[in-house]
């Protein structure tokens, strides 16, 4: 290993609320700045992996461990993982009435850095990040995700990604339910994160739209809770043409 790993997942098995396992012995190694794509048919367990990496208490690690930036974070709560530099863009971001998007991000950065946030600098940074995402400024003062359309919610997630500067961003189906223009805008935001912050990415998707404009280092295929294949960017193309069938039969 030439470079230190950022995320190492070792023999990870996961069950929901202590019922039957959904993920079986997953291994994954992501280095700083790399972009990994996780693909697979519906119900393969992709989102489960995302939630588990972020520490959703409903998902129990029954075996294996997760190392992040040199620490074993398997037992860390979600906030500690966020502080360590991990970010998850939710597939269905939660609506929080009464807290504006802007003050929420400010609260989150304060919680993560422990530093006081300088209001003017913060507002400037927020404004420019919103410009990248072609977000109407008024969204900053609206309650977090409340009444946002599907596209606006996803943009608000990427906005948080740009503002919070994590080392690794896990994007769970960030492209699902978006029209072509919105996918392009969201991709722009992700590229910004990739380039400017040298951030690593784990992109969970079952389509390939969002990947067109991104540089991909590795592609993983998850079927029935098992990572059964890893390849380079060209694998995306192949799946795009032939679908998952070949892998599904491999998994039998």
């Amino acid at each position: 290993m030439a470079e230190q790993s950022l995320l190492q997942v070792k023999d990870l098995s996961v069950a929901i609320d202590n019922e039957l396992p959904i993920l079986h012995k997953i291994n994954l190694d992501i280095k700083p700045g790399e972009t990994h794509v996780l693909m697979g048919p519906n119900g393969a367990g992709k989102s489960t992996l995302g939630y588990t990496l972020m520490g959703n208490p409903h998902y129990c690690v029954t075996e294996g461990n997760i190392l992040f930036d040199g620490q074993d974070i398997t037992d860390f709560s979600a906030d500690k993982r966020a502080k360590a530099g991990m970010f998850l863009s939710f597939q269905n971001p939660y609506e929080v009435p009464g807290i504006s998007l802007s003050s929420f991000i400010r609260n989150a950065s304060h919680a993560q850095t422990g530093q006081p946030i300088k209001l003017l600098a913060y507002k400037k940074a927020l404004k420019s990040a919103m410009e990248v995402l072609s977000m109407n400024e008024e969204y900053a003062d609206r309650d977090l995700n409340v009444g946002f359309s599907g596209g606006e919610k996803k943009k608000a997630e990427i906005l948080q990604l740009l503002m919070l500067n994590p080392k690794l961003a896990i994007l769970d189906e960030t492209d699902s339910g978006l029209d072509v223009d919105a996918v392009r805008t969201v991709s722009k935001g992700i590229m910004e994160y990739q380039k400017k912050k040298d951030g690593a990415l784990l992109i969970i998707t079952h389509s390939t739209k969002i990947l067109e404009s991104l540089h991909v280092d590795y592609t993983h295929v998850l079927v029935k809770g098992k990572l059964i294949h890893t390849g380079d960017a060209s694998l995306v193309e192949e799946i795009n043409k032939n679908g998952f069938e070949r892998f599904v039969s491999d998994a039998e």
């Binding site: 208490p57 998850l88 939660y94 929080v96 009435p97």
Partner: protein, 469 residues
């Protein structure tokens, strides 16, 4: 860690709980119990006109005849024989801050009242136990003809007739037992008159402090906002905690004229030995607007349902309230509205939070009389349960007597979802902060209606309650 500590210090309850040991020789305290003798003694202290003394005695008779309602929280812990209805400092009320007795001045300084007056208020009244100790109104507001004084003084001015024709005409002594009690021993409070067309840009505030143990506070607030006038009135209350029951049975009567607007905001933070059996009522003339903003955090037991009578056509009422019932508290709160005029509108938004065995009850009534054609009423109440040893009960009533009305009602009960907490934690917030943030967000529709410094106070009270002290 050090920051956490600081946060806790910032919102320490000691800001309200501190006691000033009342030096007995400086205070006059009426003997405990409620008899004709004590009522006459109060009347004598107040130097009442004849009609007022008769009125007090009539109220006492009614009080003795009436029962407490069978629907509310228990008041078993309240023994009138152990309550003194009248406590005052031996020095007279003073208009100037310098003349307020030192011990009382310290109390209000610690509560930040004089500072608030300098920064953001048009006038301030401060009541300590049974008497107002300070009343002041900014010169420019007084110059507009706005009257802000105590009722006793106003009874000796040209406003005597106005007071006589409004005093306890809206809240009448036959309404219920507690208002009869109030009528018998009321003392202190404020009289506000805003003349026709006068708009008071910044709020007036009254602050009530009950410092004596085993005492009652029975202040009377009478506000008349004349045609086309506009006023925001703020009421704050607090008391230190004692092991004996204290009683607050104030009365608020609000008269909102044609095209006038009155906003009445309350942050109630009585100590948790207080029985807060309070009555508030407003009557609104044509096109007038009555707005209530109410935060109930303190008290051991509360009965509080501000009532609005929408008498004039196209008059409006909006109630926004939050109640936080924590350990040992039984807070029964809500709102009442009666639609009489054509095209009248009411909106009730209520939030309640129950925690650590607290009982929070939302209770309301919406009455639409047959004359109230084209009336609109909407009620929305949300309750948040923070554990499974508390109670959150929702008991709303509607009585509709015309088809030409539009009534909507929504109630929800729920908890903080694990998913929401996880989402916030995934952004770096601790579990406690995530929950506090969700609760603050839940309360936001109320806090955003308050002036900034009160919104901050309210958020601090929420944090204080959430930190599970």
């Amino acid at each position: 860690m050090s920051e956490d500590k600081k946060a806790v210090v910032d919102i320490n309850r000691s800001a309200y709980d501190f006691k000033d040991i009342e030096n007995e020789k400086d205070f006059y305290r009426l003997k405990e119990g409620l008899t004709e003798e004590t009522v006459l003694k109060v009347s004598e202290e107040k130097n009442d006109p004849e009609w007022m003394r008769e009125f007090r005695l009539k109220c006492l008779k009614l009080y003795n005849e009436m029962e407490m309602p069978d629907w509310g929280p228990s008041v078993e812990g309240l023994d009138m024989d152990k309550i003194s209805s009248y406590v005052r400092h031996k020095e007279d009320m003073k208009g100037s801050w310098e003349d307020v007795p030192e011990d009382i001045k310290n109390t209000f300084e610690r509560l930040g009242i004089p500072q608030a007056e300098r920064e953001s208020l048009a006038g301030v009244g401060a009541q300590y136990d049974s008497e107002l100790v300070y009343h002041n109104i900014k010169d420019e507001v007084a110059a507009q003809g706005v009257i802000y004084t105590d009722i006793e003084s106003a009874l000796r001015t040209e406003y005597a007739d106005m007071i006589k024709s409004h005093f306890m005409k809206l809240l009448t002594p036959t309404d219920h037992k507690m208002i009869a009690l109030h009528g018998a021993v009321w003392s202190g409070g404020s009289f506000v008159y805003v003349p026709k067309g006068v708009k008071v840009d910044i709020p007036l505030q009254s602050y009530f402090r009950l410092n004596a143990a085993g005492a009652g506070q029975f202040e009377h607030t009478l506000i008349i906002v004349d045609e086309g006038a506009d006023l925001h009135f703020i009421e704050g209350c607090s008391a230190p905690k004692y092991n004996v029951a204290n009683l607050h049975s104030g009365a608020v009567e609000l008269f909102v004229g044609k095209n006038a607007r009155l906003r009445y905001s309350t942050i109630e933070n009585w100590s948790k030995n207080m029985y807060n059996l309070n009555s508030k009522r407003a009557i609104v003339e044509e096109n007038g607007v009555m707005e209530w903003v109410s935060g109930s955090f303190g008290s051991h037991t509360s009965y509080l349902y501000p009532m609005t009578i929408l008498k004039g056509d196209h008059s409006k009422m909006e109630f926004t309230g939050i109640t936080f019932a924590g350990k040992g508290q039984n807070l029964d709160t809500g709102a009442k509205v009666v639609h009489q005029g054509v095209g009248t509108t009411s909106v009730i938004n209520s939030k309640s939070i129950s925690k650590d065995g607290g009982i929070g009850t939302y209770r309301s009534s919406v009455v639409i009389q047959s004359t109230a054609k084209k009336a609109k009423a909407s009620v929305s109440c949300d309750s948040l349960m923070l554990d499974s040893i508390s109670r959150a009960d929702t008991i709303p009533g509607m009585d509709i007597r015309t088809d030409d009305a539009d009534v909507g009602h929504e109630a929800k009960i729920g908890r903080i979802s694990d998913e929401a907490v996880f989402y916030l934690m995934s952004r770096g917030l601790s579990e406690e902060d995530a929950k506090a943030m969700i609760v603050s967000g839940f309360a936001n529709p109320v806090s955003k209606e308050l002036p900034l410094e009160y919104a901050v106070e309210m958020n601090n009270l929420i944090k204080l309650e959430m930190s599970g002290h």
